[in-house]
């Protein structure tokens, strides 16, 4: 579904990724883990087109990703940023409708289905985006991404700053999406959250993939734990 080969990227002159390679298989949840600052978010931003690809290649469904984010979005890459980036000057409904423009006729995801999926949003539709709690914002950010009828969901730290009870809700919802066949690329600091969802795991270190395997492999590999995730 998504294949990165020798990806080099960064901010201006500062290179963060030095040849990142991994493959996200269709229908799988792929967790990209590692300590702070190793380039996880940079990888996601390069995939969606927010940062220019300086070298290497990123293929999505067999053809190269575009340099403009709106083209990638239209091709089915949906992004949920770490900061959620809900449009505060738009109502919850407008946030969802805006994303729904991307879906074709007879979209899989409608506002009704998103509300069904995240009932917390039901009474919030006419609220402004800036009036939501952190958990509601995260639900809206995921709901908004789903409204685009994505082929792959790119999630950057969906649990960050959320209460445990909300994290459990989000976990259950992502599990539900996974069993529905959604392909997900997940960056996450919460290890048990990530391993509970992921099929495959790539561990990043200094802008490269230092370890790769299944979630089960990682659970049994204390060395990798220690080396790439321990504090």
């Amino acid at each position: 579904m998504l294949e990165l080969k020798g990806v080099v990227s960064g901010y201006g002159e500062t290179r963060v990724l030095h040849g990142t390679d991994f493959v996200v298989a269709a229908g799988s949840v792929h967790a990209l883990l590692g300590r702070n600052g190793v380039g996880k978010s940079t990888t996601l931003k390069t995939i969606i087109g927010h940062l220019p690809l300086q070298d290497g290649s990123i293929a999505f469904q067999g053809s190269s990703i575009d340099r403009s984010p709106q083209v990638n979005a239209r091709r089915g890459i949906a992004y949920v940023p770490e900061t959620r980036d809900i449009f505060g000057s738009l109502s919850v409904q407008e946030n969802l409708e805006l994303a729904g423009r991307l879906a074709g006729v007879n979209p899989e995801w409608t506002i009704a289905r998103v509300i069904d999926f995240f009932p917390n949003l039901k009474d919030r539709l006419s609220n402004g985006g800036q009036e939501l709690s952190g958990g509601e914002q995260q639900m809206l950010a995921i709901g908004r991404a789903l409204m685009t009828d994505p082929k792959v969901l790119v999630l950057d730290e969906p649990t960050e700053g959320l209460a445990p009870i909300i994290i459990q809700q989000i976990f259950a919802k992502l599990k539900e999406l996974k069993s529905g066949g959604m392909t997900v690329l997940l960056v996450e600091q919460n290890l048990s959250f990530a391993l509970g969802l992921a099929d495959d795991v790539s561990l990043m270190s200094r802008g490269q993939i230092a370890w790769r395997g299944t979630a089960t492999d990682l659970r049994n590999d204390d060395v990798a734990h220690e080396k790439y995730l321990g504090v």
Binding site: H50, S68, Q70, F87, L98, G128, T148
Partner: protein
């Protein structure tokens, strides 16, 4: 100073506010969306007036001029967009200010070459000439038309921006361009469309002001300062800010000129300074 005096000043202030609104809305939305400081916006207003006067002479119709001038100014704006503005988007505010400030003088000289350096008038159409009796005062009909025109544009823009999907796209892009792109919005096309609307409104303001103020080569610069103040007071990129700012500046300038002529020249600047100190992002900033 009787009631008639106050009503008259009120109407004058409203009419000036509407003119400021037509100009500042274009400037503020262009800034909010493109992060571009377009000082040539005042020159487009001047071009609207001169082109409108010529269009009225050629077609013999004020109404044709009212339609043709904004279209012509939009075309000029589109040329500017592709030749300069799009390239300068990432060049930083100083370069943008220098280039667009230079453009003002280019346009002024072009107008001097084309129309000469004399004030030109434009006659209001027959139906709008004369005065309308409003009971206590009678007021020039054309100025009432200007107030109505401004109010109509204000209402249309408000409906489009707050109630339609294209409005939601514009608000989203002003607030967070990167996220708007990640949701598939073609921000570049949207920016261009908004820029064109801004130019059209500057052209409309120019031709609509011509029967009241008459066209001069200095008109673009003299309106630019209060327009910039409106944009800064209201909050860069904000429609509500442009509305509120236009009325504040329009009323302060008109009433202070009538009541406190000695202070008129500085009051707006005092207000500007106060807003910059107390609310540096403007009274109604676009980003929450």
């Amino acid at each position: 100073m009787d009631a008639g005096f106050w009503i008259l000043q009120f109407l004058n202030a409203t009419q000036f506010s509407m003119l400021l609104f037509l100009l500042s809305i274009g400037l503020t939305v262009i800034f909010g969306l493109l992060h571009f400081v377009n000082l040539a916006h005042g020159a487009l207003y001047m071009l609207g007036a001169y082109i409108g006067i010529s269009a009225a002479a050629w077609t013999g119709s004020f109404w044709a001029a009212l339609v043709l001038a904004p279209i012509a100014v939009t075309l000029i704006g589109a040329v500017l967009y592709f030749t300069l503005i799009d390239r300068l988007r990432s060049a930083g505010p100083m370069n943008q200010v220098l280039v667009t400030f230079g453009l003002i003088f280019v346009f002024i000289d072009l107008v001097r070459i084309g129309w000469g350096d004399v004030a030109l008038g434009l006659n209001a159409p027959q139906v709008l000439s004369g005065a309308t009796d409003l009971g206590i005062v009678s007021y020039p009909t054309y100025r009432l038309f200007l107030i109505g025109l401004g109010a109509m544009v204000m209402a249309i823009l408000w409906i489009v921006l707050s109630k339609t999907q294209i409005g939601a796209m514009i608000r989203a892009s002003v607030e967070n361009e990167a996220m708007a792109k990640a949701l598939g919005i073609n921000v570049g096309e949207l920016f261009f469309a908004v820029f064109c609307v801004g130019c059209a409104l500057a052209g409309l303001a120019g031709v609509a002001a011509a029967p009241v103020l008459s066209a001069t080569t200095g008109m673009g610069i003299s309106i630019l300062i209060p327009t910039l103040i409106v944009v800064v007071i209201g909050g860069l990129g904000s429609l509500e800010g442009a509305i509120v700012g236009s009325f504040i500046v329009g009323f302060i300038e008109t009433f202070s000129a009538a009541i406190l002529p000695g202070l008129a020249a500085i009051l707006t600047y005092v207000l500007l300074a106060a807003v910059l100190v107390l609310r540096p992002r403007g009274l109604l900033p676009a980003r929450a």
